[in-house]
């Protein structure tokens, strides 16, 4: 109360200050820390999608890892193909006894195709899957359970078809993207800025979407699907579209993560990683886009710090945190901060 105008001014300046900080980060951080921050920012893009479907749509997906994986594999396949001398096969295909390139690998040599695949394969898979479930009015807990089974099935399938997917090893050992070496000077920083730009763009995009009538109807469908049905709206397409957008964000996140991590593997896309993605958002605040970004960054930073020093502690901590946040703090950190200030 001492000086509300000052407080207001600070609040107004904050996002810009923040953005500036994030933009200059490559000059302040070591290569390793910059890479870490870039990975976590990629994951934050996925978290925005979870706010859209879970916070505002009431759709709990325990299978976002699937779309993260599709994005990651698409870019990895492109990089594998780009590195490949004419007429040769990726190394893992050789030692798996595969004799020719599968037809669906070849187009990934084209960067345009790869980018289109990153964006639209998750949308296609996500909307088909969501439509199949939602149009029969199956939702809620059932949907969560089915998406979990999807995550398991997808990871299992990738592992078992190692002759064409790289299996448990995943895909790794990339040299460059679009003709530029991944570790050449300036490239890591450029990729970081790309990630930051896409994070900011996704944030703005989802925010606009949530403010539009679409956002209203999505929230309305969450609070009572029948109510909007009796206003003459079919809730299914709204939920399917929201799910497809979240899938697309997950795909973008997966592709960026793969660029930063230099590897994509089934370990990132199965049942447990998929639930952990929901944990970030639960902790950050399921209704808040900014909260989701914070949650994704904080949880991953904490894991990095805690799991090496106290590996056993991490699982207890994560379990306990999750129970406490969900029971006592359903709006997450964002809700906590909001109530403190109110």
């Amino acid at each position: 109360m001492s000086d509300p105008t000052l407080l207001q001014r600070v609040s107004k300046a904050l996002p810009w200050l923040l953005l500036v900080l994030a933009i200059v980060a490559p000059f302040a951080l070591s290569a390793y820390d910059l890479n870490l921050l870039a990975r976590f920012m990629a994951m934050a893009i996925l978290a925005l999608g979870i706010v859209l479907i879970w916070g505002h749509g009431g759709i709990l997906s325990l299978g976002q890892g699937v779309f993260f994986g599709i994005g990651g594999y698409a870019i990895a396949m492109h990089m594998k193909m780009a590195d490949l001398p004419e007429g040769e096969l990726p190394d893992f295909m050789l030692w798996s006894g595969q004799e020719s390139l599968p037809f669906w690998w070849a187009p990934f040599a084209s960067p345009t195709f790869a980018i289109a695949a990153i964006l639209f394969v998750p949308v296609l898979v996500g909307s088909l899957f969501a439509w199949a479930v939602f149009h029969r009015r199956v939702g809620g807990t059932y949907f969560a359970l089915i998406t979990q089974a999807l995550a398991l099935a997808f990871a299992t399938l990738i592992i078992s078809r190692q002759d064409v997917t790289g299996g448990f090893n995943g895909l790794t050992d990339f040299y460059g993207i679009f003709g530029v070496g991944l570790s050449s000077p300036g490239v890591p920083a450029a990729l970081y800025w790309l990630t930051l730009a896409l994070l900011v763009a996704s944030y703005c995009g989802v925010r606009l979407l949530l403010a539009s009538r679409f956002g209203m109807l999505l929230r309305a469908a969450r609070d009572g699907e029948n109510r909007i049905r009796f206003l003459g709206y079919n809730p299914t397409p709204f939920k399917v579209v929201a799910f497809a957008i979240a899938a697309m964000l997950a795909g973008i996140a997966g592709a960026l993560f793969t660029l930063h991590a230099g590897v994509v593997s089934p370990a990132l896309i199965g049942v447990v990683p998929s639930i952990e993605m929901v944990v970030w958002v639960a902790i950050g605040g399921r209704y808040s886009l900014a909260g989701a970004i914070v949650g994704a960054l904080l949880v991953n930073i904490a894991r990095d710090a805690v799991s090496s020093a106290f590996p056993e502690l991490w699982l207890y901590l994560m379990g306990l945190l999750f129970i406490l946040v969900v029971t006592l703090l359903p709006n997450g950190l964002a809700g906590l901060v909001a109530s403190k200030r109110a």
């Binding site: 798996s96 230099g262 799991s307 200030r341």
Partner: protein
């Protein structure tokens, strides 16, 4: 509402700042860990959490034991070894991340670690980019040779093929291949199939179960139908328990239908209850029951530190000997430079280890013997055969992958 948005912006700032400060802090710490004249940092990177932790922690223990012993004996080139331990969390991308942290932030001069091929594959680009050196202690499917990795675990021709050779000598003509559905089993079986077919014998069947899978009803039905003479088992971890239990329930104990396993060592046998797998066969380059002074000394030292019930396995011994081989190579090169160290290691000649005299070949893999063991009721293996002479490592099987060779 406005308040909430602002509040969350504050939060973003807070977390960004913490990220930045964490970065600053850890890079500062990295500088502090750098050799100060009296110490040299090395990385130990194994999974301390997740599904692989159970196996990898024992390798970490063995590596730490070797580092301690070397330090107690005066260190390397007059410097004390400072081990930086990191958790790979059973996740390949974490392995890659931690490897680059160890090298770039902590300034380690070499790294010991990895277990799954997935973790090694993910780390490989990091080591090639930073021109550092990884010591990898586990048997694997071959098909790789990088100048930046020392492979001490068995190549397929040092474990799988000697096991097949032994089985052929016993007169087994019909083989059933059971494995976990991932890289090592599939590739090892690909190689085995070529050799079985070339030998004029038959592959009665081949079945894979997802990693960690516990339902073998279908696989066993297929085995019963195929009626093989012997089963070659490349299952991983817990799946073995389910497999042997369900085999026994179906009236197929290792005594009636022999099973040769590539992933069951002393630790796994102990965990499964040796009674269940008693009489089954395993192929390794090391068994705890090997005789020899160096082995007795190692076992005693390990048990003194980690408990007298501890089981000693092949990958642990490879991890242990890696550290000693690194020390010898550093001393030969008179340098910690990874490039000099790896060249010295490949020309080190033979050195004494718990598994006997071994040496590194020019392709940076270990020249070693293979042993066939038969599991006894007490969880130890009775060594029933060995390859006789040392086997030179061949990353690319000539029959399965013709024309491929290792150039370093």
């Amino acid at each position: 509402m406005i308040g909430r948005i602002r509040a969350s912006r504050l939060l973003v700032l807070a977390s960004m700042c913490s990220a930045l400060s964490l970065g600053a802090c850890s890079s500062g710490g990295g500088a502090g860990d750098a050799p100060d004249g009296n110490t040299v940092s090395v990385g130990v990177l194994q999974s301390l959490t997740g599904t692989m932790a159970i196996s990898e922690i024992t390798v970490k223990n063995a590596e730490m034991l070797a580092i301690e012993e070397i330090n107690a004996a005066g260190g390397v080139l007059g410097k004390t070894i400072n081990a930086v331990v990191e958790d790979g969390a059973s996740d390949p991308s974490t392995f890659a991340q931690k490897a680059s942290k160890l090298i770039e932030n902590d300034g380690v001069s070499t790294v010991f670690g990895g277990w799954t091929s997935a973790s090694r594959k993910a780390m490989l680009p990091v080591f090639e980019r930073t021109k550092n050196l990884l010591w990898y202690p586990v048997q694997f499917e071959g098909n790789e040779c990088s100048p930046n990795i020392m492979y001490s675990g068995a190549q397929p021709n040092q474990q799988a093929l000697p096991a097949l050779k032994w089985a052929v000598e016993q007169g087994y003509k019909s083989y059933f291949l059971v494995g976990s559905d991932y890289v090592y089993p599939r590739t090892a079986n690909l190689i085995l199939k070529k050799h079985i077919e070339k030998g004029g014998m038959t592959v009665a069947g081949e079945a894979y179960v997802p990693l960690g899978g516990t339902d073998f009803s279908g696989v066993i039905a297929k085995i019963q139908q195929a009626k093989p003479a012997i089963i070659i088992n490349t299952l991983n971890g817990d799946s073995n328990v389910a497999f042997f239990k369900q085999m026994q329930a179906a009236g197929l104990s290792p005594k009636t239908l022999p099973v040769m396993s590539f992933s069951i060592g002393e630790q796994e046998a102990q965990a499964m209850g040796a009674g269940l797998v008693e009489g089954s066969y395993a192929a390794w380059n090391y068994f705890q029951s090997l005789t020899g002074e160096a082995n007795a000394k190692f076992i005693a030292a390990y048990k003194a530190k980690f408990g007298k019930d501890a089981a000693i396995t092949d990958p642990m011994v490879h991890g242990y000997l890696d550290v000693w081989a690194w020390k010898a190579a550093v001393e030969k090169a008179k340098s910690f430079e990874p490039e000099a160290v790896r060249k010295a290691a490949a020309t080190l000649g033979s050195f004494d280890t718990p598994m006997g005299k071994v040496s590194f070949a020019a392709n940076q893999s270990l020249v070693q013997k293979a042993y066939i063991g038969k599991l006894k009721a007490d969880g130890q293996f009775e060594i029933i055969a060995d390859s006789g002479s040392d086997i030179a490592p061949e990353p690319y099987d000539a029959l399965a992958f013709p024309g491929k060779s290792c150039k370093i």
